[in-house]
């Protein structure tokens, strides 16, 4: 069984790595996981190349859910998705959720074998009022 992969994109490599550490410790190793953060010069920022490498690293046939922090992380993630082959593009989504909490929630959902749409919905459920 291949579980949905999780990619964490933050302007800060420390934040991205820290969020990934939380996922690993809380959810375990049953979910493909990768993080990227910082620009190629070592400062704060995100890069399309880094995001593409993270998507590749966390790739799963079930798809990849990306968690982003602010502005450029989202636009660069969108650009990275556009650069993927068409058959891969359909299997990558950006979650509208807080990066740390969303990553843990998405990974927990992915661990159980849920499909990509369900994983995205679970991460985004954080932003919604309870039923």
């Amino acid at each position: 069984m291949s579980n949905v992969g999780i990619v964490i994109v933050s302007h800060s490599p420390d934040v991205a790595k820290g969020a990934a550490d939380m996922v690993r410790q809380m959810v375990g190793r049953g979910v493909p996981l990768a993080w990227t953060g910082g620009n190629p010069e070592g400062g704060l920022g995100t890069s399309v190349e880094g995001i593409l490498a993270a998507i590749d690293s966390a790739w799963s046939d079930a798809g990849v859910a990306i968690l982003v922090d602010l502005g450029g992380a989202e636009t660069n993630s969108e650009m990275a998705i556009e650069m993927l082959p068409a058959e891969q593009q359909r299997k990558v989504v950006i979650c509208d959720a807080p990066v740390v909490e969303g990553a843990v929630m998405a990974a927990t959902e992915a661990w159980g074998g849920s499909d990509l749409a369900t994983v995205k919905r679970t991460a985004e459920e954080l932003n919604r009022e309870p039923d």
Binding site: Q25, T108, G112, T122
Partner: protein, 92 residues
């Protein structure tokens, strides 16, 4: 329908890590698995990590489990055992 109750003694209550462990265990069963902080509900889907997190159950409260389906007995027994074992020994 299988019911059980168990005392939650985990010092920090049902905080993030126990919730993830509990949700993962619930997901390993085919049955519908429900959790509540009161015997008469409201009942929450124990497989929904976001919904279980919202319970915010404190330590020394009772948790109630209910399951419906082919493996309901095993599901409720496993959930109770996990809480009794202080969330140690859940699925990897």
């Amino acid at each position: 329908m299988i019911d059980a109750q168990v005392l939650l003694f985990h010092a920090a209550g049902l905080h993030a890590r126990p919730v993830v462990t509990l949700t993962k265990l619930a997901k390993t069963f085919a049955s519908r698995v429900l959790i509540a902080a009161n015997a008469d509900g409201p009942w929450t889907d124990a497989k929904s990590v976001v919904k279980v997190m919202r319970l915010k159950t404190p330590a020394n409260a009772h948790l109630y489990f209910r399951a419906e389906g082919e493996d309901a007995d095993a599901a409720v027994a496993a959930m109770v055992t996990l809480v009794k074992n202080d969330f140690v020994g859940g699925p990897e």
